[in-house]
């Protein structure tokens, strides 16, 4: 039971990290990008590749994963967001990010293979550590660190305040002279780097697996919708709740119904409180 809780917390932390990636991209562009989970998948796959195939030391591999994630974020902005946002049709971005996500996933499947491959040790530790194993606490620390870092970034730095300004009202921000296109690009690079870091930290839990991206995109979104869109605390709480709920359900019912239960959670929350636990209601259709 305790082991189920801890494993659930670790998985939930990864979901929370994916939800944070969504949040950062959403703040500047109002786009929920399907590529959010794929940044973490890239972090895991490239981390394993750097360390096992190229034989790089851990810090270099970590930097490499973050850079790959950031580059993918930049690519997302250039390819899938920039031209689409200029048009008024609001759901084109769903199609373009979905297309990009599919392409990345298939490219990784062709290059890396469709089998999950093991991820090497990041910190030297004995394999007998049981529940104190690094694969459980690394993702949790990274997710909490990312959330705290984001809050500090939003509150203390000029760029963070620009993000907040853009998420409040993008036209007003542009009227005040904020280079909105460049800030949006920065936010995508940042989101990609965060995803790469989270994927690297959770590599030992998830293995380096090409199909992780889609699962994370879905579960990160569920965490986000449960916690409330745009709220970082909500992302952490939603992710933890989702991870623990699905692992407890696995413990009692069996692993076959994991997806069904997590989507059930989403539906219940959306029916009872459509804006999520920590979200703000913003309804203005006209």
């Amino acid at each position: 039971m305790l082991s189920a809780l801890i494993a659930g917390l670790a998985t939930g932390a990864l979901y929370a990290a994916a939800a944070l990636v969504y949040n950062v991209m959403f703040s500047t562009s109002k786009v929920l990008s399907v590529t959010a989970g794929h940044t973490a998948m890239l972090g895991g796959v490239f981390g394993a590749w750097f360390m096992q195939v190229l034989g790089l030391p851990v810090p270099l591999a970590l930097i490499g994963s973050v850079v790959v994630g950031g580059a993918f974020g930049l690519l997302t902005d250039i390819v899938a967001i920039r031209r689409v946002l200029a048009r008024s049709d609001e759901h084109l971005w769903l199609l373009s990010t979905l297309a990009l996500a599919t392409m990345v996933q298939q490219a990784i499947a062709l290059w890396w293979g469709t089998e999950p491959r093991p991820f090497p040790r990041v910190i030297p530790q004995d394999f007998g550590a049981g529940l104190l194993d690094q694969k459980y606490w690394l993702p949790v620390i990274v997710a909490i660190g990312l959330a705290i870092g984001l809050e500090v970034f939003y509150r203390r730095t000029l760029y963070g305040k620009l993000f907040v300004a853009m998420s409040e009202d993008i036209f007003a921000a542009r009227a005040r002279g904020i280079p909105t296109d460049r800030i949006r690009m920065l936010s995508y690079v940042m989101a990609g780097a965060m995803g790469g870091l989270a994927g690297f930290a959770a590599g030992q839990l998830t293995f380096a697996y090409f199909a992780l991206g889609l699962t994370l995109t879905l579960n990160g979104f569920i965490a986000l919708a449960v916690g409330g869109l745009g709220s970082n605390v909500g992302a952490l709480v939603g992710g933890a709740a989702l991870g623990i709920l699905s692992s407890i359900a696995t413990y009692y019912v069996g692993g076959e119904f994991q997806q069904t239960i997590s989507v059930g959670l989403l539906m219940v929350v959306l029916l009872l409180k459509p804006e999520g636990l920590f979200g703000t209601r913003n309804v203005r259709p006209v």
Binding site: H91, L94, L98, A101, T102, Q106, I222, Q259
Partner: protein, 330 residues
Amino acid sequence: MKHPLAFAAAAAALATLPFWAGDQYQLHLAALIGAYWILIAGLNLVVGFSGQLSVGHVGLLAIGAYGFAIVAGTHGVDPWIALAASGALGALCGFLLGLPSLRLPGFYFAMATLAFALIVTELVLALDGLTGGGLGLSVPTFPEPFDTPAGNYWLILAVASLVTLLTWNVARLMWGRGLICVRDSVVTAQAVGIPVLHAKLAAFVFSGLTAGLGGALFAVIQSYITPDTFLFELGMFFFVCIIIGGRGSILGPFLGTVVLTALPELSAPLAKLGNFFYGLLLLLVVLLLPEGIGRLFQIAMERLRPRRIESMPIAPHPQRLTDAIKAGQR
């Protein structure tokens, strides 16, 4: 029906296809396109007309296919009743999925359908007493004369024609206008009195019905189904066919289905790339031609044969004017 001759020629060509198709494989491919089209024709009303981006119809396809295989195969019920049952099952599941999720805004709805597709795959694996789990199920064929490849093709052609006729009727009459209005502006739709949720739900349930029928026929073509047949990427593929063909048209998605199904089968390098190719196509279409390939044809036709713009200048006629004024003064 602007071109009755072209329509009659196309219908005749489709009906006689088993006689002039090169080999059995091409006939199989044509039947596969037909089964896909039965699903896509219904999905087109949801995606292309009412603008709800459902990426999870592969789940409904799987339900139809497994429903047919279980009812007709495991329980040995008459295949025709099983076909109707899988259509009804698809419609029921479409209703149960659509009722909560169609209330959600765009991205939430897309994620709900994505989750639905994953749940169906998960349940198919979990309920292995019913579905055979990872091993799969074998699917019975229809009775004579539909048990040969050609007979099967004609059956699929008949169902596909019927479904196409139904969607065409929906699309060109008031329903279709209402759905397009919901797609383009929900606020306008509410203002002019279109029951938004009701309209969306009706289209979605119809797409569930066609997905169930398409799934049953698809299962018969495959003759053996496993959970691997119904990967999420197949749902992507249906979706891409419609977007590439162009939203709000029926011919466009049909051509999209034919081309996208046939292309990877006929050229080996594309088949290797598989879903990467579909993703690339979707990206290109969204970025360059958001209205779909059909728009390209329209532009080309305009270039080749510009529409004649009637202009009838009226020359001034002072004499008549003065006469009229004089007549008025009198």
